[in-house]
């Protein structure tokens, strides 16, 4: 079972008290317990069953403006005593940095709202097995499906975050996730696709039949792909990958990238970065949200933030350290974004597909071809050709390339936003990207 708050608080207090005794002027500590159970099936047979029980403590000690950290999974006091001593020793000889400090007291989270992030339901392994059987049963109905894998994971977490300024807070969270990977085959060539669901509450999980069917349908549709000629063309990003555009934005507007001068959006605050129809929001207080939180990884209160308003970049993602460098207050984004999403577009998916005669519709990208410093982007891709609003044939072994600065300015959103992940985007079109193929 997951350990309670009292147990975690006791460890956190021990770390703070002992660090102070040894000379720390400030201390921050996080203690986590998590229990995870995973079952996976392959071709309708049990493949793996995995149970994990993990503790973690992360401690940062400050001596004035000097700072050092330790992490450990061993919560025994004898071990912690040794590690605290080591941490203090390292702190003493680490050069000072005037920006090192705990967050301002008045920014700290004052009350913890119940955001409905914890479902205590335990889904026993035999139920998980039943669920997986249903996934695979549905996924393997078509004879073109030659291999299926399905998994179900249940996670329970509890944590305490505390610092020597008196902040102490934490709460339980849960996560249920299930996935199916299907492999299809025709004429000896294979394709793979998947479907995935993740929720805070068990009752909100997709139906197993739905997961299996989507994975199988997608894998079958990909069969027999063609390689197309190199050309400039409008590229539509499927919802599974369109959210990647927001992750890129988040990296580029993190206070660290801005302060270090290593972002293609440096000096773009209050400038038009997207078309004026576009709004981008990071909202930490969504009930049951996969990215929801009361406070950030430093204990700073997090509130909803409009990052982009009418196409104009309005806010960076700021933590305490880089905030001080930029002369800005933390906005509770140490640890990054929470529930980040585009405000929904106005065009229907169908109208978007019909807005030109020909598009490339991308369902998957591979590789890490985004450069945050220059904004250059080049990745491998697969998907479909769209002609007169219809997906006509699958495509693979091509790349798409451009520069984020121009890509951002050429985005058109569909109105099919769903809150399926912690970062969410509707289907979107980017005009005039370079596709390399034959």
């Amino acid at each position: 079972m997951i350990r309670d708050q009292e147990f975690l608080k006791d460890i956190a207090s021990y770390c703070i008290e002992n660090s102070k005794k040894l000379g720390a002027t400030d201390v921050g500590v996080k203690v986590i317990h998590s229990v995870s159970e995973n079952v996976s099936f392959r071709n309708k047979k049990l493949d793996e069953s995995n149970r994990a029980d993990s503790f973690a403590v992360s401690l940062t000690t400050y001596i004035e403006k000097k700072k050092s950290s330790i992490n450990s999974s061993d919560l025994s006091k004898s071990n912690l005593e040794k590690l605290i001593e080591r941490c203090i020793d390292a702190t003493k000889i680490t050069p000072s940095d005037e920006n090192n400090s705990l967050p301002d007291k008045d920014l700290m989270s004052k009350e913890i709202r119940d955001l409905n992030l914890y479902d205590e339901t335990h889904y026993p392994n035999d139920k998980k097995i039943e669920f997986l059987k249903n996934i695979e049963e549905t996924a393997s109905t078509d004879e073109k499906i030659v291999n299926t894998e399905a998994g179900f994971t249940e996670n329970k977490n509890n944590f305490i975050l505390a610092n020597s300024n008196g902040f102490l807070g934490g709460y339980k969270t849960s996560n249920f996730s299930s996935s199916c990977v299907a492999v299809s085959r025709i004429n000896g060539a294979m394709e793979r696709d998947y479907e995935f669901g993740s929720t805070r509450f068990l009752q909100d999980m997709m139906k197993p039949e739905e997961i299996g069917k989507i994975a199988a349908d997608k894998a079958i549709k990909k069969l027999g792909p063609k390689k197309i000629k190199s050309e400039k063309i409008g590229v539509i990003f499927d919802k599974r990958i369109s959210k990647g555009i927001l992750s890129t934005l988040a990296s580029a507007i993190s206070a660290s990238a801005i302060a270090r001068g290593t972002s293609f959006l440096k000096d773009q605050i209050n400038s038009e970065v997207f078309p004026n129809s576009i709004n981008i929001i990071d909202d930490p207080k969504i009930e049951k949200g996969l990215g929801s939180q009361n406070f950030d990884s430093e204990g700073v209160e997090t509130n909803s933030l409009k990052l982009v308003e009418n196409g104009i970049l309005k806010n960076y993602l700021i933590d305490t350290y880089y905030g001080k460098k930029l002369n800005l207050k933390s906005n509770g984004r140490s640890g990054g974004t929470t529930n980040l999403h585009f405000e929904n577009g106005t065009l229907s998916f169908k109208d978007l597909l019909n807005s030109e005669k020909k598009f490339l519709y991308i369902t998957e990208t591979i590789g890490h071809g985004g450069n945050i410093i220059t904004g250059d982007y080049s990745v491998g891709a697969s998907g479909f050709m769209v002609e007169d609003g219809e997906l006509t044939y699958p495509i693979s072994e091509i790349t798409i390339a451009g520069n984020f600065k121009e890509m951002f300015k050429n985005i058109t959103l569909a109105n099919d936003l769903e809150m399926k992940y912690s970062t969410n985007a509707p289907t979107l079109l980017i005009n005039q990207m370079t596709v390399a193929g034959k």
């Binding site: 392959r42 049990l46 493949d47 793996e48 069953s49 995995n50 149970r51 994990a52 993990s54 503790f55 700072k67 050092s68 950290s69 992490n71 450990s72 999974s73 061993d74 919560l75 004898s78 590690l83 080591r86 941490c87 390292a90 000889i93 940095d97 291999n147 492999v183 000896g188 294979m190 394709e191 793979r192 792909p225 390689k227 190199s230 001068g261 290593t262 591979i366 590789g367 890490h368 071809g369 450069n371 410093i373 220059t374 250059d376 080049s378 990745v379 491998g380 697969s382 693979s396 072994e397 091509i398 790349t399 390339a401 451009g402 520069n403 370079t434 596709v435 390399a436 193929g437 034959k438």
Partner: protein, 470 residues
């Protein structure tokens, strides 16, 4: 060497008894204990940005019967915790019956020394060196916009207790030293990254001013990129330089030759054993036995001694890389490729040091044979879709080739190809095989493990280059 049962309520013989009892009806399995110490010290933006020390210990208890793996892991090495894990494993496998395979070959070989790199260099001297790196690079002029340098060091002790009370141990040092520099000229910014590392102490890689070579190389790459033009888009000839560009081999065919994907028939290579998958003259091995290399292991994470596995010999597919589970199910033996990121992870067949061996051509011959193409020298990373065989990798330093001559540098671009066919497009294999500098980490199923790669220069007839210039 760690004593995992010191300060616990259980001793080795009691643990062995639990292991034997739990695995009595299983085909395979073990109790894997791990103690892992690591450090990270980062200099960034003229400051020591962070210094972190990590201490992690725990066990992973595994029982395997048929195709089914039951796994339970915890930080808590105690009688109660092990019993709970044991009950868990027995419950998962209750309807199955297997016969324990006792055979684990012995080895007296050692490919690295049991040193703890974290303790073998003082904290002060690490801080001093990071500051020296910063000063050295910034002294190269005002175009230096940003410098990041870091030490990553670790020491891992593992102990494997098998059902027959067989105990196998290994102590593994590992270090990495990285430098990244951002240059700015005429409003244009570019990065250069370089690093070195392996299973020795930091000073083995940095002594006698050799840290300056790491800085110079990072600076050189960034400087080249400042002059870069947009990369071309489309199919063309590609010459790859020796060493680190071998991540092409790792992505294009390495993953596809891991035992699990072939047992499950989800790899594009699963029905190609014994067949010609590469041009004649192409030989590829996966070697765990190179001294002090990043991907080397004395024993793998199941206790099997590592070996030099021939994957492709003169173009013919010869072997897959196997852990014990997949080897047993495919009727062959483990190649010592069973690896896991930590006690929190199940064993998977993985690469170690994947190498294409030298041929007879010079790099100059290759370049002069190309009318229009690119010459790729340095790479960021790559990825593969095992099933379709499509793979990518990202250039971080590349040049145009025009009429047999190296031309302007080009911007970073992704190259995409098809694993099972790309090696048939290798028309010349160079005589200049080189190992990478010791910086690679391979990701699979959420697990990262250190690996190495090596290759000579090669000429590929046709590959799609993902630039922006049509």
């Amino acid at each position: 060497m760690s004593n995992f049962f010191k300060e616990t309520d259980i001793d080795t013989s009691q643990a062995e008894a639990i292991v034997t009892e739990t695995l009595k009806n299983c085909d395979d399995g073990e109790l894997y204990l791990e103690n892992h110490k690591s450090e990270s010290i980062v200099l960034d933006d003229n400051k020591i940005k962070s210094s972190t020390y990590n201490s992690d210990q725990g066990y992973g208890f595994r029982a395997v019967t048929g195709e089914v793996v039951a796994y339970s892991h915890s930080n808590d090495i105690s009688k109660e915790s092990l019993r709970k894990s044991s009950d868990n494993l027995k419950d998962t496998l209750k309807s199955k019956k297997g016969t324990y395979n006792h055979e684990i070959p012995k080895t007296n070989n050692k490919y690295y020394k049991n040193i703890n790199p974290i303790e073998s260099k003082t904290f002060d001297s690490k801080i001093d060196l990071l500051n020296s790196v910063n000063n050295y690079l910034r002294s190269k002029g005002s175009i230096v916009n940003q410098v990041t340098a870091n030490f990553l060091g670790e020491h891992k002790s593992i102990e494997i207790i098998r059902s027959d009370n067989q105990v196998l141990k290994d102590d593994r040092p590992l270090v990495r030293f990285n430098v990244s520099v951002v240059l700015e000229k005429d409003g244009k910014k570019e990065t250069g990254v370089y690093g070195v590392g392996g299973r020795q102490s930091y000073d083995d890689y940095l002594k006698d001013g050799s840290w300056k070579d790491v800085c110079d190389e990072a600076f050189r790459i960034a400087n080249v990129n400042l002059e870069s033009k947009p990369a071309p888009a489309g199919e063309m000839k590609v010459v790859l330089g020796p060493g680190w560009p071998a991540i092409l081999i790792h992505e294009a065919i390495g993953h596809g030759l891991e035992g699990d994907f072939n047992r499950k028939k989800t790899s594009a290579f699963h029905n190609l054993m014994g067949q010609q998958v590469a041009s004649e003259g192409v030989t590829i091995v996966d070697d765990g036995t190179l001294h002090q290399r990043r991907g080397s292991l004395t024993i793998d994470d199941e206790g099997t001694p590592t070996e030099n596995t021939v994957l492709i010999e003169n173009g013919i597919l010869k072997n897959y890389m196997q852990d014990r589970l997949n080897a047993r199910l495919m009727g062959t033996k483990s190649t010592g490729s069973g690896r896991r990121e930590s006690y929190k992870h199940v064993v998977l067949p993985r690469m170690r040091n994947t190498m294409m061996l030298s041929g007879k051509y010079s790099q100059d011959e290759m370049i002069s044979s190309v009318d229009k193409g690119i010459f790729a020298v340095s790479f960021g990373g790559g990825q593969v879709d095992i099933t379709s065989g499509k793979f990518v990798f990202n250039c971080t330093e590349a040049y145009e080739i025009n009429n047999g001559k190296i031309g302007s540098p080009i911007k970073g671009a992704t190259l995409i190809g098809d694993g099972p066919s790309i090696l048939k497009e290798v028309s010349l294999v160079g005589n200049d095989m080189k190992l990478d500098p010791g910086i690679g980490t391979c990701g699979k199923a959420g697990q990262g493990v250190p690996v190495g790669v090596a290759q000579p220069s090669i000429l590929i007839n046709k590959m799609t280059v993902g630039g922006t210039k049509l």
